[in-house]
């Protein structure tokens, strides 16, 4: 049971980062990025490339993947999201789905990446090394994942709540017109928001990679589970997104333990429909005071 809980929190960390990224992009640009999970896959592969370049310095690989993810996000916003935004929400949704195709099938074409999942070395020791506490074995990498998730969340909190730039970006997301009037460059703020969100996804891919392998076709499932987490916790609440993502991870492992792998996923997707229908603002979201 405890074993499943830890395993759930580990994969849930990835979903939490995806959910948080979806939240940040939604706040900044009013769109849901369907490609968020693909960027997790690409981030893991970035880390793999860095590991191959620097011969297994996992920390350098993590930093490199995150920075590359951030830059990729800026490019993504500039080349795809911004031009498509002129034609409304459905066009944007379709453009992000097009991006899913490009990344899903495109990463397999990159030399060294391929279409099959590959192992990524653990941050310390071997990926299978585990800590034994009273019969429960916990992979060291799981501990790293949770610690790094917390570190990333703390960094996000400090950036958005304590720094001038973070506050400016939040202002631009909350009230674009007002922000523009007080001199905030909202175009740049949007690009940076998307960059941060994609950077988080890449970071997530790099930290869970040693456990889940990197590459492969799992991006769509990661996107949806991240979105389920965001819906369950509350799409408008960053804390809700993180908690929701972790919950989905735990639920996935519990269901997989209880039933077969094939049943767990449809059950989680059903949760999305139920959640959207019953409590669209999520567990942590306040009931909106805007006009209906």
């Amino acid at each position: 049971m405890l074993q499943l809980l830890v395993a759930g929190l580990t994969v849930g960390s990835g979903y939490a980062l995806v959910a948080l990224g979806i939240h940040i992009i939604l706040r900044a640009t009013r769109i849901v990025n369907f490609a968020q999970g693909e960027f997790v896959i690409v981030g893991g592969l970035f880390a793999l490339t860095f590991v191959q370049l620097f011969h297994a310095n996992a920390w350098l690989a993590l930093a490199g993947a995150t920075v590359l993810g951030f830059l990729l996000g800026i490019v993504y916003e500039r080349l795809i999201l911004r031009p498509a935004a002129r034609f409304g929400e459905i066009s944007l949704t379709i453009a992000t789905i097009g991006t899913v195709f490009v990344l899903l099938y495109g990463h397999a074409l990159v030399p060294g990446w391929g279409s099959l999942p590959q192992p990524l070395p653990a941050f310390t020791g071997e990926a299978s090394d585990a800590l034994n506490i009273g019969g429960v074995s916990i992979q060291y990498q799981s501990i790293w994942v949770l610690a790094l998730l917390l570190a990333a969340l703390a960094a996000m909190y400090l950036f958005f709540e304590r720094t001038y730039y973070g506050k400016a970006i939040r202002a631009a997301a909350n009230n674009p017109l007002g922000a523009r009037l007080v001199g905030i460059d909202i175009t740049t703020a949007r690009a940076i928001s998307v960059g941060i969100a994609i950077g988080l996804a890449a970071f997530g891919g790099a930290i869970i990679g040693p456990i889940t392998l990197v590459g492969g076709a799992g991006g769509v499932a990661i996107s949806i589970k991240g979105f389920v987490g965001a819906i369950v916790g509350g799409l408008e609440s960053p804390v809700g997104c993180v908690v929701g993502g972790l919950l989905v991870g735990v639920l996935e492992k519990l269901l997989q333990g209880q039933f077969s792998y094939g049943v767990a996923d449809p059950l989680i997707y059903s949760l999305l429909l139920v959640g959207l229908a019953v409590r669209p603002q999520g567990i942590f979201g306040a009931k909106s005071a805007v006009r209906d």
Binding site: V32, F87, T93, G98, S115, A289
Partner: protein, 585 residues
Amino acid sequence: MIARLRADARALPILAAIVVLFGLTAARNATYAQAGTYAAIYAIAAIGLSLLLGNVKQISIGQAGFFGIGAYSVAYLTTALNWPFWPAALVGVIAATVVGFGVGFIALRFRGHYLAMATLSFGLIVVGLFHESSLFGGASGISSIPYARLGSLSLSGYAAYWFAWGIALLAALLTLNLLRGRSGRAFETIRNDELAADVIGVPTRRYTIFAFAYAGALAGLSGTIYAAFLGLIVPEAVGVPLSIDFLLMVVLGGQGGVSGALIGAALIGFLDISGHAYENWREVAYGVLVILVVIAAPGGVIGLVRRKPRSVRNETARTPATPAPAIIAPTGDAPLTARDITKRFGGLTAVDAVNFTLERGSLTSLIGPNGAGKTTLFNAICGVGKLTAGSVSIAGRNVTGWQPHRIAALGVGRTFQNARLFDDMTVLENVVAGLIRSDKTSPIADLFAFPGLRRSEREANDRARATLARLGLESIAEMYARDLPFGERRRVELARAIAADPWLLLVDEPAAGLNASERAQLHDDLLALRARGMTLLLIEHDMKLVMAISDRVMVLKFGVMIADGDPATVRNDPAVVSAYLGTAG
């Protein structure tokens, strides 16, 4: 809208000719015949999605789910129970339609990207179920599905090409019928402005559900033919990639109508075959293509060849002025009674326990400073949004909680503060849309173009033209609403609201943005409507107009009714003077 469909109808024979020519010339090449068959099978599902996406503006990334339901029905019934193809296919289509109704019902709760996620998870759930179900063969699916038979003819190979295209073109024709009928007009109003559509009497929820069921039925039909043609169905074949392929076809070919869907399906059908050796590159190219189309050519292939319809102002147009029919209002109870209407948004009370009763044939003005809750009160009366407390009675019927279109159908018209016209429709089409509530034809009648439709459509057109003529708007009947100056937009909206001869009319700030002569015209129009026997409730800031035409004036301030009486009394009420007109000095 009609112009777009006319172009669509013109393209259809050309596409059919290409299908026939290709069929005759490609007969000897099995690969081409096979690619052509797949194109036809995809086209059937793509037509449904095109209607959903382009005509009703509802996204679905779960069409492969319906396709799977159709395919697995045929697979299971023909192999396990030895049914022939036709009844099995019928069951498959019905099952997909029923599930489509369900998904449509769920879809009412979602918008935009939420709907995209919800339909995506629907598709994933369906695949998951097929994958887990031992009845349907689990991961290895169902094989040895027999070919469909027509008499002694087995519909395989070359015969399948003609069979599949026959069905696809038939589906295209029926869909075109549907779009040219009342259903198409209803869809178009929903696509343009769902709220305005509902308020003028279009049952938007019913039509949205119907569109999902129809798209589901076509995707299911497509799946039945696929299963019988391929002889094998596995869960992976009906997964998310297929849903996205359908989306790709529709976006690429051009959404809305049928021609774009046929072109898109044919393109993908052939690219699938010719790009077979470069699988990953092909999919990447699809992704890039769809992004480019969305950014650079949102109309798709068909949008590139279709000319944008132009607005025509016809100064010489004359419709013989027919006298306006008398208004038939229910007798007995008061036209409108508001009891303790209260509406809160979070902590803000926009309307606070408002009570009033309107007298038949009277013109009452509702005034008050900005943010007083006037429009919110209108919304409450029309059924837009839920009331926090209180009730609304119209002609003695308690309509609290009714949907807007049902309230409209009682004989209630309404205009909006910002003139919400259907911008992609002509003035005439806008006014005809205002008559939808008095038209009783069903979507099924549209689908098969029943004989009575032409006549009922001509009648609706004549009636709309007569309404335009009475307001002196016949010269702009063929103009697109998006090209109208603001003053004309207001008058067209009024024409749309009164086209069905409502006996209760709510008009929201009709004079805002009008010049002096337009205001004088409005003054006369409103008095003429009252003279016909309409009961009017007017929100207005133009005090000169209000004092000149009102029988009664009600004043709202911060959601509370602070004065109610004849114009002279209200004008001199100290509370009104200080609250609304401002204190002197």
